[in-house]
């Protein structure tokens, strides 16, 4: 393995041009914290973008931040905190789940379109990327988007970059929309609801005017893995409903929300609330045992309990929990040759949802579709887009889809 670590955009272009000329595909990484997600790559070259680091500008009153793509997330998040701002999409950090190093980069966060529990209120990462510079698989530097909040000039390639897992371009600079951090937060815990009732409670909360900033349900067998005594010690399932905003508003909405719910309740203060949502966001609750396989399933919220029931029936050792008001399932299954792929994908309702293998051994990731397989016209279109940006197939070839 030869590692190329350029320090500027020209160096990235040189590296990619060399790969094209030498027909040597490359693995593209930021700090490689998520390199175990996707089909394994057998490349002789690695393009390390962490040398492109540093803030370009941050203008809190304009809600915009721009940095080189290899900048550490932790550095940027600390900067945002100091101005009482944040990435509204609450990006997860999978380091503990994946057993990888701490310290993901902005570019990696974008490549994975990482969005956490607040996604149901504030949108995904893809809703907050304003612009970028990159070097495409053609070895050409280009940019798209801008630094302003509202922009429809040309195609929205920034959204295409989000979730493209380094298969189209090597990002060199990114410009993000940032938002004020909530003044305060409160989490209402409901104890002992079964999946159906919890799902209904979450959907009721989402239909209320109380502006939920998180709705998750931890069945009893997942709740007991929590680091918080309030949750682990419940000895029952725990449903979490989160409210954020200005103090008076949160207090008012919390009281109104509680008035309409009869289940046994408790309220987490801001500090414990952050810890609880952190372990949901970062999937700490399924991190151990380490050999288990972890899937992430997106589906319509009302379909959550049925899908979980299907999985538990077909794979009795499966455990899992609900985020996004029931629209996101995190499922852990014991190791097996096919990683329960058919069971998991069989649980998704027709034509609306997808499953991604987030943690699994290399052998499994080489033999199953890590990302949801695509039906034909879409698969061919996806392939043409890959070829448009990376005709020589030098950037993370096959990581998402292995085209014939």
């Amino acid at each position: 393995m030869t590692e190329l670590k350029p320090e500027d955009q020209g160096g990235v272009a040189d590296a990619i041009l060399s790969a094209i000329a030498g027909k040597t595909p490359m693995e593209v990484v930021g700090s490689a914290t998520m390199r175990t997600i996707g089909r394994p790559l057998a490349t002789a070259l690695r393009l390390d973008l962490s040398g492109l680091a540093g803030l370009i500008f941050y203008e809190p009153e304009e809600l915009v931040l721009s940095a080189k793509a290899g900048t550490r997330r932790s550095e940027i998040e600390a900067l945002l905190r100091a101005s009482r701002q944040a990435f509204a999409f609450e990006p997860p950090d999978f380091a503990r789940l994946l057993g990888s190093n701490q310290g993901g980069t902005l570019g990696g966060m974008i490549a994975a379109n990482l969005s956490g529990p607040r996604r149901i209120r504030s949108g995904a990462l893809r809703d907050h990327i304003l612009g970028f510079s990159a070097v495409s698989g053609r070895g050409e530097a280009f940019r798209c988007g801008g630094r302003v909040m509202k922009n429809v000039t040309g195609y929205d390639l920034p959204k295409l970059m989000a979730g493209s897992w380094g298969t189209l371009c090597a990002l060199t600079e990114v410009t993000m929309k940032v938002m004020p951090a909530p003044e305060t937060v409160a989490t209402l815990l409901l104890f002992g609801l079964n999946d159906e009732d919890a799902s209904a409670a979450m959907r009721d909360a989402m239909r209320s005017p109380f502006d939920m900033a998180g709705a998750a349900h931890l069945p009893a067998d997942v709740a007991r893995a929590s680091a918080l005594a309030d949750i682990a010690g419940a000895g029952a399932s725990v449903t979490l409903l989160r409210l954020e905003g200005f103090g008076e508003s949160v207090a008012f909405r919390l009281a109104e929300l509680r008035a309409g719910i009869t289940a046994e309740q408790a309220v987490l203060d801001p500090q414990r609330s952050d810890l609880a949502w952190g372990e949901i966001r970062d999937v700490h609750l399924l991190a151990e045992p380490r050999e288990r396989i972890v899937w992430r399933v997106s589906l319509p919220p009302s379909e959550g309990p049925r899908a979980m029931d299907h999985i538990r029936t077909a794979a009795p050792a499966a455990i899992g929990y609900y985020d996004w008001a029931g629209g996101l399932l995190w499922v852990s299954v014991p190791p097996s040759e096919h990683g329960s792929t058919q069971v998991i994908r069989g649980a998704i309702p027709p034509a609306t949802g997808h499953a991604t293998l987030i943690r699994g051994p290399e052998s499994l990731r080489s033999s199953v579709f890590v990302f949801e397989p695509l039906p034909d016209p879409l698969a061919k279109l996806t392939q043409r887009i890959k070829q448009a940006f990376d005709p020589a197939g030098v950037l993370n070839p096959g990581r998402m889809y292995h085209f014939a």
Binding site: A21, R84, E140, F142, C144, A162, W324, G327, Y401
Partner: protein
């Protein structure tokens, strides 16, 4: 009509017009194919009326299958296609071509499914923006993006243009409120993107189709998220003796962690024109007027009204008035919402521009615009989505006067170039279309544009869908696909190769 270079009509296609009309009639029987010049005139322009062109033929399908057959036929026969929604677009995105089939989606006007459990609605693309809200408001829900044409514009057109509205800063544009799309490709193939779940399984093609101005595909079904209506809303009317203070007030509101539901600014000329028209009670002795709307539970709104009022006073506002009733709130908005027709009353014609700038550059941009106004001898009124930096200068002119349209267009182009120089962009919500097409080179390099065009090639390799829009020059896909590798020059000569 001013000089606008459109792709040269293909003579071979025009020569086969009779045959094409007959083929379309076989797909869409009855009155769905329009081929008389008199009837085709209804489609000769969209909301950008300075440009007109009668299409070769118009077809109004009623089923997705017909859409697929039309596209497949046109693809097989190398016939250009211009899709059209409500025809309200402001950048000429639906301007017909002389040799193209105009594909009107107006008959797709059914709401297919309202799913309160999953808070979404699935509709056909010809349903109007407002009709979605009307269909769900009895249950206390609404569809958030609210372009000012919402009574007439279609959701399919909103997807094509990624339409905004006055509530974007808090609630997002169309792209941020979509869950699923069904799209017919130029080949007639149908793809489904998203659904009732969140986030794409593969590349975010819903993201790139949104705002693609009819160049990538024809939207045949849309699933949008619907939101619970906020419990209450109040507005503040704030007047400032100078524009800088208004700009600082906007920055301070956001620095205090407040994201208002709407934050609109108007300049002196816009205030005067609207006040004469709708008598909303705006002060006439200010240089800038802000309307700030706050929504949410009543205690939150009360709290924020106080905080924003304090910030306004700290910025030397000469007027701070909070709405005390729903009627008064609507009156505050009435002037802003009538700003375009109000300007239409004081001038025979106007051009509405649509740049976005970093907000802090507002005073500099307005200053430079006032110089341009003097240079071109044309007045300019400004309304501004202040929260997100989206500027709508309205250039006043009289098309009946010699060269005034041309001067207005040059003035407009200079404003947009100024926006780009100030760190902004050519269009915030109206789209590039034909209007800003030739300015794309001021914002993007040839390499930048080539990367965008290659996306077009992946969707539409023959370049048949809505050509002449968005890109100043539409290159052939074969030419764009070539790789330019400098074989003699290998920057990392020492790396192993195999």
């Amino acid at each position: 009509m001013t000089r606008l270079k459109m792709p040269a009509p293909d003579q071979a296609t025009l020569a086969r017009r009779g045959e094409i009309v007959a083929a379309l009639r076989r797909i869409v029987p009855g009155e769905g194919v329009i081929d008389t010049t008199a009837e085709l005139r209804a489609y000769e322009t969209d909301g950008l009326t300075a440009y007109r062109q009668v299409p070769m033929v118009a077809v109004l399908p009623e089923t997705v299958d017909q859409v697929r057959q039309i596209l497949s036929y046109c693809h097989a026969n190398d016939i250009r296609v211009v899709p059209r929604g409500g025809g309200t677009g402001l950048s000429g995105g639906a301007l017909p071509l002389a040799d193209a089939v105009l594909l009107g989606m107006s008959k797709f006007n059914r709401i297919l499914d309202i799913d309160y459990e999953n808070r979404c609605a699935t509709v056909e693309p010809g349903v109007t923006n407002l009709a979605i809200t009307k269909a769900v408001e009895d249950r206390g829900f609404y569809y958030a993006p609210d372009p000012s044409s919402q009574i007439a514009c279609s959701i399919g057109g909103n997807v094509a243009e990624n339409s905004g509205g006055v509530h974007c800063l808090k609630y997002g544009l169309t792209a941020n409120n979509l869950l699923g799309l069904e799209v017919a490709l130029i080949t007639g193939e149908l793809i489904r993107l998203g659904g009732k779940h969140l986030d794409s399984e593969a590349y975010d093609l819903m993201g790139v189709v949104t705002g693609s101005e009819g160049l990538l595909g024809v939207v045949t079904q849309v699933t949008v998220r619907i939101l619970r209506k906020p419990e209450s809303a109040r507005a503040l009317l704030i007047g400032f003796p100078e524009i800088e203070a208004a700009g600082q007030c906007v920055a301070d509101v956001i620095s205090h962690g407040i994201i208002p539901a709407g934050m609109e600014m108007m300049d002196r000329l816009a205030i005067a024109a609207t006040e004469d028209f709708v008598h909303a009670g705006y002060p006439r002795d200010v240089d800038a007027l802000l309307i700030v709307e706050l929504d949410g539970p009543a205690p939150e709104v009360e709290h924020l009204i106080e905080r924003v009022s304090d910030i306004a006073r700290a910025n030397r506002a000469s007027l701070v008035r909070a709405s005390t009733s729903e009627e008064e709130r609507l009156r505050f908005w009435a002037g802003r919402k009538a700003a375009f027709p109000a300007v239409g009353r004081i001038s025979p014609d106007y051009l509405c521009m649509d740049g976005t700038i970093p907000r802090r550059n507002l005073p500099a941009v307005l200053g430079a615009m006032s110089d341009l106004s003097a240079k071109y001898g044309l007045a300019c009124a400004n309304v501004f989505h202040a929260g997100d930096g989206n500027l709508h200068p309205l250039i006043l002119f009289d098309a009946g006067e010699e060269d005034q349209l041309e001067r207005a267009e040059q003035f407009g182009a200079e404003i947009l170039k100024l926006c780009v120089r100030m760190g902004g962009v050519l269009t915030g919500e109206h789209g590039v279309g034909v209007e800003k097409r030739d300015l794309m080179g001021d914002m993007f390099s040839e390499v930048d544009l080539a990367h965008q065009e290659r996306l077009k090639c992946a969707f539409d390799g023959k370049g048949l869908l809505n050509p002449g829009k968005m890109f100043p020059v539409l290159h052939r896909c074969a030419e764009l696909g070539r790789m330019h590798v400098h074989r003699g020059k290998l920057p990392f000569a020492d790396i192993p190769r195999f």
